[in-house]
Symmetry: C2
Amino acid sequence: MRARHDSGDGEPMLIWERPEPPSRPAPSPLSRERIVRAAIDLADAEGLDAVSLRKVAAALNAGPMRLYGYLSTKQELLDLMVDEVYGEIMAPGPAAEDWRAALRDLAHRTRSAALRHEWFADLLGSRPNLGPNALAFLDASFAALHRAPGLTSLDAALHAGGTVTAYVIGAVRREITELRAERASGMDKTQWQRASGPYLTRMLATGRYPALERAIQADDFPPDPATAFASGLECVLDGIASRVSPES
Amino acid sequence: MRARHDSGDGEPMLIWERPEPPSRPAPSPLSRERIVRAAIDLADAEGLDAVSLRKVAAALNAGPMRLYGYLSTKQELLDLMVDEVYGEIMAPGPAAEDWRAALRDLAHRTRSAALRHEWFADLLGSRPNLGPNALAFLDASFAALHRAPGLTSLDAALHAGGTVTAYVIGAVRREITELRAERASGMDKTQWQRASGPYLTRMLATGRYPALERAIQADDFPPDPATAFASGLECVLDGIASRVSPES
DNA sequence: AGCGGGGACAATACACCGTATCGCCAAAAT
DNA sequence: ATTTTGGCGATACGGTGTATTGTCCCCGCT
């Protein structure tokens, strides 16, 4: 059952272009924008699990069912939230001229958006994102790759874009997950090591993980996540560059 | 409130080494293994959303609360499911000798595991995975990277491993998501294009996405996901190789 | 041998979720 | 002025994860 605005004709009428409910004379106190904003605020403050239609509605002084005039499903709300964050990502100035710089910029903006809205990492890549802002993001990626010198086949461009996107999704996810794990067991990274340390040392003592053991023994403290993300990204970009302009 | 096996002393006693309940003379009909297996079967058949403690317990002819003797939380069950899949991934023969081949092998095995258990993609990277099989996976990664010639700093090895892991997570996620989207709207890829096509064409007609427009116009059909995954992976591996052994 | 206690299991209970349905009331149309 | 309509709130339902309570059986002790 779709929202009541679904005109019912054959065409799918995806959610992003569904019209606002006809603006009432006394301006309707609710709008999809306000709903999405409230949901985002709630998710930022209390996590994605705390986002329930009931709580969002309550934050807007409305009954839960009120929202179904603007959304047909909770999933739709999540999709709109994601697209809103893509909007944040695309908000800043124009793209760089160098394709590499442009892709790097998009990646870092995505990462910082995920740090602002940790729930974004949970949703990243879990559904096809076709909202207008997500499309703008895609467009920016392709535009950047089009500026690459040797990238004639746009088949290759698609591959390249997909590869860096995949890296960004995975890296952001991992980083947020680690961040949460640290926070969960006492705010401090060393404290986290103490927490799961005994278990890990016991596991390592079995001798079944020699390489891991060696890796942890020589524990140079892992560098901050930002540079880890950046260096991994450069690695991926290097790989792309090596096929864009065959090795000099 | 932990499961009843938590010994109560200071040490955390993570879930993977918590002992089975004391084997009763008449062997207990339940075990964590059987629970996890039932949950996996359910998730494979009906999706992750269908995995509820009630349904899992029902599949084992038990009341819902029975499971809390073996698990302290649903999240724990999910963690165990993930580790079980890591077990599948690590099951086949020994690792290749070449570091690149070894990493490639791990990546492809992860992908095929996710294709067998689509819910695995939803859980990938969403939590720190420290189960014995996940550790074995990590160990294999580090072992492979250790075999790389120029990888003296294990700091670099950590970065490299993290980078390819991030790519794999993101790529697998995207692929499963796309697969589901296709399946949701009529099994066929061209059919999917028809489904969201009108919306997309209308969006593109706004002229706000010129690069996207160009990319879609010249629609050489995208290659099958397997080669897309593979080529992206090679791309990442190239990037790593270029820093392992500086350009020849 | 009889009995008491403890522990595994089941049933019940609770708060909350997403969503369908229904009824009311106010505003618009006749 | 009356009727209609449609947006909104309240209520309801089936489901969830989990806490609590009760029951019953089996083991060990007297």
